[in-house]
Amino acid sequence: MVPDNHLFFIDPNRCIGCQACVHACSECDTHKGHSMIHLEYVDRPHSVQTIPVVCMHCNSPTCAEVCPADAIKRTGDGVVQSARKPRCIACNNCVLACPFGVPKMNVGFELMMKCDMCYDRTSSGLKPMCATVCPSGALAFGTVEQFEHERPRSEPLNRFRFGQQEVTTRVRMMVPRGGQVEHLDVTSLMDDSTPSHCIPTDALVATLYRDEDES
């Protein structure tokens, strides 16, 4: 079990784009050759800023909720596991539904693969591989007390709002301390006038549940 007070912290401002996390994750025993973390350049023509994309290990994981095959499990210590065979049918629901864009479909394996917070390491007292190797501290693992002490200029957040959906995560995102936001609203910059071609996540979830109830 991963201790409750051991949390994963991601500070995108510290990312230096070195890809140590990508390489180390790819070397991990359970999924060798496949990295569960990747980096995005935000706008290379104008900035060297990069951002790591890790599973946020949501308390109510959207990926698990939309999975028709119940292939994604969340353990009691709050870690959302990767999809399992034989249940995963590679339908891509989770890939589309995750508000953070985390799950990736491995077409060759017909299996969604995503970060499981290095469950084999974190459940035996080690840190996740990416958080161990990250040379700039953009990915880090430890207790809240440790981070309050070591990172006085940053504050961990774990509540996100996507449209109607509020997501609470086990992973903490660091933002500058003293900032005004209580939660990050990614839709605040969206253009409301453009009709959305996607079914909103909460409506999709409601549809699935409704169908289950009726069967």
């Binding site: 401002n13 230096i16 070397e27 060297v48 990069t50 501290g137």
Partner: protein, 755 residues
């Protein structure tokens, strides 16, 4: 006569560079390693602790070493993937002889035959042309044991004065400056002092890409309230979050530091007591910066006046600070002066030798520090001694059991060595751990010189671009195949542990050296059976020198997680002591073997020296014909000449090819779009590479990383101008012109991406 073995499919097929990816047990999730070997990375000077997973005499993966205090488990992509250089298709497992009749250019020969041939050629050339006609080049990616033995081999066995090493290309400016200012060439502080600093000043160091772990030290300082000042013509990942980014025009750093000192004096941001008690030469240095007003400084450096004033204020008024620099400051024809100008502002502040008060150059190569301590430099003897100092010469000659008159005097630096091949003074060359065809400026000249040699023997574990010119190639060992010590950028001596044996006929470099000595019939002094014995000798040879290792043992290193030198085994009264090592130099009241208590710095009077520095422009400034500044540097997933990292698939995937960085203003003026092929040309040569149009570089500068060979090598264009004191080449600035390429380069047509 060594002619370059050409790029035939057979040569490339046999010797690569081909990319290795994890396969077999390295990819199998069921692989359980037999053991974990604690060691350090084979790449940069950070010398991160790492554990290698070993199964069936192969390194199959890595595991972080969380307890090693410098990096605490942190790593960068190179360290994580380094193991893929083992069991590599391209690995040299036997000696080779150049054979022009074969399409692959080389044939395998028995190791003993190769040694015999090397010895015979050494004997022939030395008897025909004199001892100095045979030269030795070493490198700083070898353990200190090997570096020491190489220096001893050149002096005591070959009795040639011509030995130098690849650190000539990187660390010597900082080395000369540090010796002139402090009397000792080592980082003043361990990185653990960085988080305690109120101001961290970084000049010419792409910390995030070249010393990634140091990034977390700098950012911990920021978490503790520090301000970060970064001086670089580019916005690098660390510069992106700097409190003040000063985009200095390449070559103008000395003027910037002079401007800062000018403002410190004007505002009396000076530690008068420190200057009076512990330094000499302040008046002359102050006089030299009288004209470096903020306006004038801004004009010369291309940095906004208000930024200069802000930097000076933050630096001037801080209570603690750390100044660090790297090749961006040092690889100039006045690199030494640049460093001395930076040291001036450190000394003027008095903030050195105390917690949170520090200064350091960031050493680049794994053993760049150790490799410049015990004698493979042309002017150096073990213990950091001076080959021209009569007392030092006598001590080492006695130690090696040879008459002092037979100990050669100083030779010439690495680049001048090639000029002496041109003049015919040097006819034969033996090289280790160096790839000058890629790493030296003006590669056209370097290649011509290698072809001019009568005999060239190269030791390497892959057929590097330089080894292609060899008459004989000797199969050396990988880092993980040997044991020994390395000194990290901090001055921490650490232990490399062997994980696997060498394959085939390849063997540890120190064995090859000894075999050559035996082949020459000059075996005395070269009969070690293991690295611990070499270390025992070198530790004794260093006793009494500035770089004193006499109190260091393998066991102490392992127990203390590294030992910072000086670490003598006797005290001032020659009584034996158990010295813990010296993490922080220059502490007030500290004793060192030169000052003997007169003061904390390594001069007889114990005082540090200011130096009056006048700004001088780079050797080749821009003009109407060549109006753009070319600067060169590195990327995070490649290392040095790429001989190793270009053979590691995942690292190549991260940066498959060099990209020329240029600003949109410059791109627009030449009709160049992002990812176009661009030809960059200097008076020496030209290359065509793809470009990246970014606003994160000065509009008057283009940047190309240097890790690639052949048509992608930016050293086709660089200038071989050298600093007169350190002899470092001026990699950081020369004049070029750019244009959108008429056609893709020849190498772009090849089906397989040849690195």
């Amino acid at each position: 006569m060594a002619a370059e073995a050409p790029d035939t499919p057979e040569l490339l097929g046999r010797f690569g560079p081909l990319r290795a990816y994890p396969t077999g047990p390295r990819l199998d999730t069921a692989t359980i390693p037999e053991r974990l070997v604690k060691t350090h990375c084979c790449f940069c000077g950070q010398q991160c602790g790492i554990q290698l997973k070993v199964k069936s005499d192969e390194v199959v993966g890595f595991e972080p070493w969380a307890e090693f205090p410098f990096n605490k488990g942190m790593l960068c992509p190179k360290g994580i993937r380094r193991y893929l250089q083992g069991s590599h298709h391209d690995r040299l497992t036997s000696a080779l002889a150049r054979d022009q009749s074969l399409p692959e250019g080389f044939r395998e020969i028995p190791y003993d035959e190769a040694i015999g041939r090397v010895a015979a050629e050494i004997r022939r050339i030395q008897s025909e042309y004199g001892n100095n006609a045979f030269a030795v080049l070493g490198g700083a990616s070898m353990t200190t044991e090997k570096c020491y033995l190489l220096g001893k081999f050149a002096r005591a066995c070959l009795k040639t004065r011509h030995v130098d090493y690849n650190g000539r290309l990187c660390m010597v400016s900082a080395g000369v400056a540090n010796k002139k200012a402090f009397g000792v060439d080592r980082a003043g502080n361990a990185m653990s002092d960085v988080p305690l600093a109120e101001v961290v000043w970084i000049s010419g160091a792409n910390v995030a890409e070249c010393a990634p772990i140091t990034t977390s030290y700098v950012w911990q300082a920021r978490e503790n309230g520090a301000r970060i000042i970064n001086v670089d013509p580019r916005i690098t990942p660390l510069a992106r979050t700097a409190d003040l980014a000063l985009p200095v025009k390449p070559g103008r750093d000395a003027a910037l530091f002079n401007g800062i000192l000018h403002l410190m004096i004007e505002n009396d941001w000076l530690d008068h007591e420190f200057i009076k008690e512990h330094t000499l030469g302040f008046e002359a240095a102050a006089e030299a910066v009288r004209d470096y007003t903020p306006r004038r400084t801004a004009e010369i450096t291309g940095v906004a006046e208000k930024a200069i004033r802000q930097a000076a204020e933050w630096w001037g008024t801080a209570k603690t600070s750390f100044l660090m620099h790297a090749r961006g400051l040092e690889q100039h024809s006045h690199g030494v002066n640049n460093c001395l100008a930076s040291i001036n502002i450190v000394l003027a502040s008095g903030r050195i030798g105390r917690p949170g008060c520090g200064y350091a150059t960031i050493t680049g190569q794994g053993n760049g520090q150790g490799g410049r301590e015990h004698g493979q430099k042309t002017d150096q003897l073990p213990g950091g001694r001076d080959i021209e100092n009569p007392e030092h010469r006598q001590f080492i000659a006695d130690f090696w059991g040879m008459p002092e008159a037979e100990l050669p005097h100083a030779g010439v630096d690495c680049y001048e060595l090639f000029r002496k091949i041109d003049s015919g003074e040097i006819r034969g060359l033996l090289s280790w751990s160096i790839n000058p065809v890629v790493s030296l400026p003006d590669s056209t000249f370097v290649k011509r010189m290698l072809e001019k040699l009568e005999f060239f023997a190269c030791t390497d574990f892959f057929l590097s671009e330089t080894a292609r010119f060899a008459d004989v190639v000797l199969p050396g060992s990988l880092h993980e195949e040997d044991e020994g010590t390395v000194c990290s950028t901090e001055g921490r001596v650490i232990k490399i542990n062997q994980a696997i044996p060498s394959p085939g006929e390849a063997r540890q470099d120190w064995r090859i050296l000894q075999d050559i000595a035996r082949g020459l019939g000059r075996e005395r002094g070269f009969t070690f059976t293991k690295p611990a014995e070499i270390f025992e000798e070198l530790r004794n040879a260093s006793r009494g020198g500035v770089v004193d290792y006499s109190g260091i043992t393998y066991e102490k290193i392992e127990r203390q997680m590294g030992v910072f030198w000086p670490c003598p085994d006797t005290d001032a009264d020659s009584q034996p002591i158990n010295h813990p090592g010296t993490p922080r130099l220059f502490e007030p009241g500290s004793w060192n073997s030169i000052a003997k208590g007169a003061g904390p710095f390594f001069f007889p009077d114990g005082k540090a020296r200011f130096h009056p520095i006048r700004y001088a422009p780079p050797t080749e400034d821009v003009d109407a014909d060549y109006p753009v500044i070319l600067t060169t540097g590195r990327v995070v997933s490649m290392f040095l000449s790429g001989n190793q990292t270009r053979r590691i698939g995942p690292l190549v995937d991260q940066y498959p090819e060099p990209l020329l960085e240029l600003h949109p203003t410059l791109a627009r003026a030449h009709g160049i779009a992002d990812r176009d092929w661009v030809t960059v040309e200097s008076r020496r040569g030209r290359l065509t590479v793809r470009c990246q149009v970014v606003t994160t570089i000065r509009p008057d500068v283009v940047f190309v990383p240097y890790h690639w060979a052949g048509g992608k090598s930016v050293n086709l264009a660089t200038i071989s101008a050298q600093d007169p004191m350190s002899k470092i080449p001026e990699y950081k600035v020369c004049a070029v012109r750019i244009r959108k390429a008429d056609a893709p380069p020849e190498y772009a047509d090849r089906l397989e991406s040849q690195q």
